[in-house]
Amino acid sequence: MTVRERLRQNISAAFYRHGLLCASYPVPIILFTSASILTCCYPLLKLPLPGTGPVEFTTGVRDYSVPSHGTQGDLGERPDWYRGPPVAYIQQVLVKAAVSPWDSSLVPVDVFRSPLGRVFSLLEEIRDHVYTDRSLESLCLQVTDLLPGLRRMQSLLPEHGCLLVSPGNYWQNRRDMFDSDPDILKTVHQHEPKGLHTSATLKDLLFGVPGKSTGVSLYSKKRVVTYTITIALSSYDARFVASLRARLKQLHPSTNCSLREDHMVHVHFKEEIGIAELIPLVTTYIILFAYIYFSTRKIDMVKSKWGLALAAVVTVLSSLLMSVGLCSLFGLTPTLNGGEIFPYLVVVIGLENVLVLTKSVVSTPVDLEVKLRIAQGLSSESWSIMKNMATELVIILIGYFTLVPAIQEFCLFAVVGLVSDFFLQMFFFTTVLSIDIRRMELADLNRRLPAEAGMPPPKPGPLRPREAPPPSRPSPHTITLQAPAFRNLRLPKRLRVVYFLARTRLAQRIIMVGTVIWIGILVYTDPAGLRTYLAAQVSEQSPLGEAGLPPHLGVAPVFPGGDPTSTLNVLPAPEPTPLPENQSQGHGEARSGPAPLTSPQITWGSEDEEVWRRLSFRYWPSLFSYYNITLAKRYISILPVIPVTLHLSPQEAIETRHPQDTQHAPRTSAKTTELQADLTLYKVAALGLFAGVLLVLLLFCLYRVLCPRNYGQNGVQHGRRRRGDLPCDEYGYSPPVSEISPLLLRGHSMDIECLANDGMLLASCCLAGQIRVWDAQTGDCLTVIPNNGLRRSSSSGCWEHRDGWDPSSPARNASTPIMDNEHPLRRRTTPVRPALFGDQPDLTPLIDTNFGEVPPSQMMPGCGFDFGELVERAYKEHEASPPLPFPPSPPAARQRRRSLGDQSVAPPEQVLLAPWDWDSSVWSMELRGNLIAAGRSSGKLELWDAVEGSLRCCNEDGSSGITALAFLNNRIVAARLNGSLDFFTVDIHKPLGLLQYRGPPGRASLPPSPCYSSEDVISCQLTRSVQCAHQKPITVLRAAAGRVVTGSQDHTVRVYRLEDSCCLFTLQGHAGGITAIYIDQTMVLASGGQDGAICLWDVLTGSRVSHVYGHRGDVTSLVCTTSCVLSSGLDDLICIWDRSTGIKLYSIQQEVGCGASLGVISESLLVTGGQGCVSFWDLNYGDLLQTVYLGQSGEGQPVRQLLVLDNAAIVCDFGSELSLVYVPSVLEKLD
């Protein structure tokens, strides 16, 4: 155990030092690793390029001997496949035959009938040829059955005997069948496959020359028939072959033939991959990619996910390449199919270590130095990494001892791969990770700077080369917004690179050039591949391949046995008499050939030397495959061709005619062949068209399936969540649900309509018109301002009101006369639910309801009920201060205050002034300092004291309902339903002292908001009213940075200056009414409309910066951060846009009805509401961090509004309740 511990310590210490090293010198280490990767991959250059074309090797015929199996040294350029005997020696007899002289009495069929007929005598000759005691029968390749699937070819290909292929096979090598065949063309063509094909057809196989050059057609102009007799020999007997050659040459001499006969070509065939073999291969690759995808997806919390994923993949791939390179360096040439074992190697090596490393480094404390973070992360995972590595090595070693060669080889590769992968992880990936972490830290720094407002000015330049300096938070009236043009100049480098790439299409060009180079290299290194390919596919008759042939050496044509002529002399030379007339005729005709115009001319050119080159490169494999003989990874040796020239006289041609030949109208048959050719063309065209249409349809369907409606929106489209499903991020990952019980603020009887906050206080207004003020810290209800109209109408209906009524009816009576004759009245009540405040002492008996008689000195001890520091302090201050000047009855006011502190239930004043409009409801509300501004539907603007619940001021200048309010500094802007905009000034007359409630010292850092003490006389005067600010009702009103921005249903946004209420701009650009506006201190202005569009504006110039369509339906809310814009719409989708480019980053599907509820707590934390829960998201990556359930009962009501307080708490409405949620502590780390 101690040894283990010590080992562990040593390992972790070593890793720690290594981490320090990597993080300290990233660039040299990356250079070093790249260099080592390149050196290790260098041996790969020697490996052959992938390609399946056959490879050739030429040797002389003279000193040929069968290569031995062993690896005797390396004999110069001898390829490594050239070992052991070939599968077969191929001897081809190339026959060119023509009827000459041609005269007009001959019919087209005569062109090929009699020349083809000669094949039988030739075959006989070859078969019967005997040299000493050897016959063809003993030398040739004996074949057995055809493959079971080729029964229809049974009559056409030889079985159970020599593999000897000639056109005679069509007639089973029987002359009588040929003579009785009425239509040769039909016989030949009936076996042709109908469709398109690339492999050798039967006609190619039997004729041994490309179909068009056979001359077997009614249409040929040259009137020369060409075919080969192909003999496969199993063993090579030089003298037998030479004698056969001499014999045939003697019988049918070719006068002007100068074919070289001194080279033997060995053709090696590679393993061919059929489609059937590709399917498993493709499957394994698909699985491999899925594995890589699922693995790299887990990389998290880093600056660039893609970069790290790429680094991980590069690590694995280059370790594979290194292993192959190293293995081939040490002489272990891969015999396994690399492509097949590759996926398994990747899976064995795996990406796990990389992920573990990343996770461990990321989870180290953020405030550490990067170096230390890397080192700590490495050392904490060192033990597990080493353990895994050792386990894998042991497993592979076990595999090595299975003694199966293939598995051993795989294991060897895997071991080298594992070691090199470890090396790369340690050096390459760790360094990349350190660079990434450093980048993230810089970004963090950038992000945090704006928060530290008023702190030292942002350090310039070198620290943050990548991003534009963050806008420091200015004081409200200084304008530091960057002009859009300026911003464009300062694009991040990364983006600039991307744009450059996109502009110049660099990637495509590089790929194209690479492909071209690859093809070129293939052509150069593998001429046979190109030539056969061309011969097979591009043009079957052009001798293009021949042109590329390297010129052969001019070796004297000497046979091992001596000169062919001498061999001939040695030969028994069986009677050359059978064809004397032919021979003489041939000579004569050949000489007199050019004289008649139409006489066919037999010429021998260099293209006839290797006829098989012009065939499909699958010619030999397919011929042998019919007999279940594979040529893959084996080779055949092709002997020099034996030329045979046949000249036939017209008489002979006429004699061999079939009676039907003349009856056949040559034209029709010619037509049919032509028609056939035409038909193939049409077929090809039709097929191509069909395939094209199909492809388009398929792509269309794919397009419809994959990008249903929101094309171009990157980010995964979320399915709408069902009720009760866990909210999850785009990967389907749901973080643990945290059971934080939020503070429930109960008291409202109906749904909450308006919410306003000012850091410390929170005001809410429900549909019933009741306004409640809460302490944002503790969640206590401070004040209740009932709606008078409701009070009057539903006084008997509401039980909670009832509770408060009876005990305090005397008080009501007492205060009635006072309230009767004064206008600015204060009403408050705390209709508490017993369930919530049941643990609090019932103080009603303590309350002395006879307010008028109790002296103020006795009040103090009475307020022993601690109800929040804030309120108590306020009251103490108020105690010391003289009574308010404007309420005529100071004692009453004081007693009011005390009753509030007691948490007693004070009755509302029921009897009120006549002009009071009770039925009006609160349409808008704002809270600043301790003043609540409430705009009513009647057009009345009221200012309430938030702490005391007293109406401080009321303005009834307008009659149209106030739809929106903005309260900034000492100004209130009210937007009315009729489209007018009223600017009010709130004046504070400090009556006596300058006592101002400023809040506890701890909260001094809160944004300075005007605080009004209850002693101030507050008046609210209409300074200016802009009639017809908009033609239609104003829907949104926002004020910040000295600007007031209004949005209306008339599709325009207007910007006013707050000081002089002067209209600066009218911003047009929306195609629907404005529904959301965002403006903040940095003068970022964003607006969203009913058309689903979001516009970003430059407040300085009034120009539109960007315009994006984000939502189907209205945009319901908009928030901007320094880097992005968040919008939510009626489609319950929250979209996050990049602010500078207007590119959508991702979107989050919200639950129904919760679309508008979103808030940004910090630059990187987003809060959204859901069915009874709120979710926290990482704004940078769109990851769901946490979900907090608001109520214990699962049936959550949707969170419709959500407000972020300054102290990182959020308030959301929850039906008739409010929920105060403190941001969970887990999340605080993030910030």
């Binding site: 699985i287 899976v347 293939a406």
Partner: protein
């Protein structure tokens, strides 16, 4: 607004049970369907691998070689894999020992890749004799179990299913329903159980991973209730 709330409450009142049932069954069906498809696909591909062992060059027809086996083989494999994939999480739940090891898709993908690799090895690698083949395959299968499963229930289930499946195939062979290309009886017997075992482990892994979603859902339900 109020309407919304009312209807929401209504759903909540009678919703949970019905939605639970429907969700459960639909969930089961979806999972079963996915597993079936995966099983059929793997059966086709792996069968192709096995077929290739006997075809030397140029299979005359790709399509026919893809469907070279009898038509009922892929559906059988699909059904079996669906059953196994659904059974695994079920057993886990009943035993009360939820699967803890590496519950993520990348690990599942790795498992599938190793399974295909085992098949590949059995089809492509030339072994000296059958004992070697079967031993190697057995070691690989157990290695697969150790790497990706490590649960006793998984091992037991794998062994049981492998034995049953081998028995069933042998019965089929005896009854002449189909025959193997290779006449070597021992050869068949040796590699078949290992492949079955590895397949069971793989399908179980997939099934458990799929069931993870349902588990989450049920937990959520319980939490809500």
């Amino acid at each position: 607004l109020a309407n919304d709330r009312l209807s929401g409450n209504g759903v909540a009142l009678r919703g949970p049970y019905i939605s639970m049932i429907t969700n459960h069954t639909t969930n089961l069906l979806i999972r079963g369907g996915m597993l079936f498809v995966v099983g059929v696909f793997l059966a086709l591909v792996l069968n192709l691998l096995q077929v290739q062992r006997n075809v030397t060059l140029f299979p005359p027809d790709v399509i026919s070689s893809v469907f070279s086996s009898a038509w009922w083989v892929p559906p059988c494999c699909g059904t079996a894999s669906a059953l196994i994939g659904l059974l695994y999480p079920c057993i886990d739940r009943h035993l009360g020992e939820p699967h803890k090891l590496k519950r993520e898709w990348s690990s599942v993908m790795r498992c599938v890749a190793v399974f295909v690799g085992i098949n590949h090895a059995s089809a492509k690698v030339d072994f000296a004799n059958n004992v070697q083949l079967s031993l190697t395959l057995a070691a690989l299968s157990v290695g697969l179990w150790w790497t990706f499963d490590r649960s006793r229930s998984g091992f037991g289930m794998g062994v049981a299913v492998a034995l049953l499946a081998t028995l069933a195939t042998q019965l089929l062979v005896y009854n002449g329903v189909f025959q193997y290309t290779s006449p070597d009886f021992l050869y068949i017997r040796s590699w078949l159980p290992c492949i079955f075992f590895a397949g069971v482990i793989t399908m179980g892994n997939i099934g458990r991973q799929l069931a993870l979603y349902e588990c989450k859902f049920v937990q959520e339900k319980i939490h809500q209730d």
